[in-house]
């Protein structure tokens, strides 16, 4: 892809890094919260459900603003993290956090649907055979929801790649630091003569999104066939 300028290339790589970390780090809590919402009745369930979905319905700039309040070096959580030497505001890590928060509802939704599709009777059967709750989850529930987890992860990755509003509000638009693909496209459109570069980056964006979608569809179909499959 020599037709990308070094700074374009930098934005693409940064986006992949940010979206990759955002997806990987939000997977474990995503699976846990999806499981809790799908299977457990607990006080505050509606509140948890609401909080998870909040980024989906809030203006992204508001989400970014709330992250800034919480995670800025003088913010409540930011101050604590600063003591550990971790800075989020205006760094790529902050961009990953913003992307993760914005993508989280989509991930939880996909995984929750997959968990709800697993017949609890199978989990009961496993428990009567001697499997503790954790074993049941690891050997029955988890293998059966792999297609859902994959779908959730890919959707979250695509969403993280495209995140704009919360990112620019929380970590600003610093080339090489926090300037992800969408931010780079936006910046190119602000300068005279940047249209060609913007178009190239947009093409990369479309290609990555479509590619991710196709790969996930293919994988999910393969895994679903293996789970329900006839012989072997």
């Amino acid at each position: 892809m020599s037709w990308l300028s070094p700074s374009d290339w930098q934005a693409v790589l940064l986006s992949l890094k940010v979206a990759g970390w955002a997806t990987a780090l939000s997977l474990p809590p995503g699976v846990f919260i999806a499981y809790a919402l799908a299977r457990w009745q607990f006080p505050g369930r509606a509140v948890v459900n609401g909080l998870v979905h909040l980024p989906l319905i809030l203006p992204p700039v508001v989400t970014g603003y709330l992250l800034l309040i919480g995670f800025a070096p003088n913010g409540v959580i930011g101050a604590a993290l600063a003591k550990l030497g971790i800075t989020l505001a205006f760094t790529w890590r902050g961009a990953a956090l913003a992307a993760a928060v914005m993508a989280f509802p989509l991930m939880v939704r996909a995984i929750r649907l997959a968990i709800e599709a697993v017949d609890p009777k199978l989990e009961q059967a496993a428990s009567t055979l001697g499997a503790s709750r954790l074993w049941v989850f690891g050997t029955i529930t988890l293998p059966l929801i792999v297609p859902g987890i994959l779908a959730g992860a890919i959707t979250a990755f695509a969403k993280a790649m495209g995140e704009f509003g919360a990112t620019i509000t929380f970590v600003s638009n610093i080339p090489g630091q926090t300037q992800t693909l969408p931010l780079a496209i936006y910046s190119q459109l602000q300068v005279p003569g940047g249209e060609a570069s913007a178009a190239r980056l947009a093409a990369v964006s479309v290609t990555l999104a479509l590619g991710a979608l196709l790969v996930s569809e293919w994988l999910a179909r393969r895994i679903a066939a293996r789970i329900a499959g006839g012989r072997g």
Partner: protein, 358 residues
């Protein structure tokens, strides 16, 4: 020894049961909605009753008063569900071995023996989706046994199968009962299954225990017969094949003499249980002549109890076994039948279906 005492209310339904059953197969028997599955789920720990105590061979699984509730995975009860519930993502072999990693004892010999006993050898590499209903039932049974349980629970394991599959599976269950020697709690509303498998029958109706005892006594009790429904009431007697006749009938020795029944697969010497529907028994005061029915047995009327509509149930002593007959009140009056009277029970050979013999 199985002790179950339960009190549980659930959306307008109250289950209130207290029963003790000896070793062997205990059938929870009764109409649909009687609360049988609730009892089994409480024993498995899948349901937490309001009050109760459950113990198997002295080991307490549940005691609400003492605050004991063993979670399902610590109860070691093998549960065979009506819908098999095989794990779809695992092979038959992995399904069978699923419970073994959680139980300390059990050898590879057991696996070989159970796989052979249930005829599963050719299925081991298959996935549950490719199995027939009868094969799924057998795998579910094997999976429960191989988890090394202290007892087995079976909730209508045959209900989802057609008659042909049922008669294919029943012999496996009988072998299991005779070879594996685990206490078994068996839920059914099919008298034919209960008659063939059960050592003890607990009759449950409307959440209450109506009667419990040996199968032959409960099924021939005229005061319990109405709970079974008039199509299903009928006693069980034991017999032994004496000979196969040339015309395809089997000569079977019972406590009240020999009977002839269509049972072509019987081997001489083979012990049997025969279920005789109450509606298929005719009574005659004197031994009738010129009758097409082949089986005329001397009996003594033990009890006469009113049944639904213009009919009564009669319990008939046949040697040390019992028959149950259902007659109209009018016939009883016309013949002057009374308790203690000796008479003749007539059973058409062709009225006994093959699923009632075995």
């Amino acid at each position: 020894m199985l002790e179950i005492a339960l009190h549980h209310r659930h959306t307008g339904f109250t289950l209130d049961i207290d029963l003790k059953a000896p070793a062997g197969v205990t059938a929870l028997f009764g109409p649909s909605g009687a609360g049988k599955t609730t009892v089994v789920n409480a024993v498995a720990g899948l349901l937490r009753p309001e009050r109760g105590r459950i113990a198997v061979n002295g080991e307490v699984l549940l005691d609400t008063e003492a605050g004991i509730f063993l979670p399902p995975h610590k109860r070691r009860v093998g549960y065979v569900f009506q819908d098999a519930r095989l794990f779809p993502h695992l092979s038959v072999k992995s399904n069978l071995l699923y419970g073994r990693r959680f139980s300390k004892s059990g050898s590879d010999q057991d696996v070989t023996r159970i796989v052979e006993m249930l005829g599963l050898g050719a299925l081991l590499d298959r996935r549950p989706a490719s199995l027939s209903g009868g094969e799924k039932s057998r795998v579910a049974l094997g999976r429960a046994i191989l988890s090394n349980p202290r007892m087995l629970l079976m909730d209508e394991p045959l209900a989802a199968l057609d008659a042909a599959r049922k008669s294919e599976i029943l012999p496996y269950f009988e072998r299991l009962r005779d070879e594996v020697k685990l206490p078994i709690l068996y839920v059914s509303h099919a008298p034919a299954e209960v008659a063939r498998l059960a050592t003890t029958v607990a009759l449950i109706e409307g959440g209450q225990l109506r009667g419990i005892g040996p199968a032959r006594e409960i099924l021939s009790d005229p005061s319990l017969a109405p709970a079974l429904g008039m199509r299903e009431a009928g006693a069980v007697i034991s017999g032994r094949v004496v000979a196969q006749e040339a015309d395809g009938l089997a000569r079977i020795e019972t406590a009240g003499g020999a009977v002839l029944l269509p049972y072509p697969s019987g081997q001489p010497g083979q012990p049997l249980r025969l279920r005789i529907h109450a509606g298929d028994v005719t009574l005659a005061v004197d031994r009738p002549e010129g009758l097409s029915a082949l089986n005329i047995l001397p009996v003594v009327i033990e009890q006469i109890r009113p049944a639904e509509g213009p009919s009564v149930y009669l319990r008939l002593a046949l040697g040390d076994d019992h028959l149950l007959a259902r007659l109209t009140t009018r016939s009883v009056a016309a013949l002057g039948l009374t308790e203690g009277m000796a008479c003749h029970a007539i059973i058409k050979a062709m009225s006994v279906a093959s699923e009632d013999v075995g």
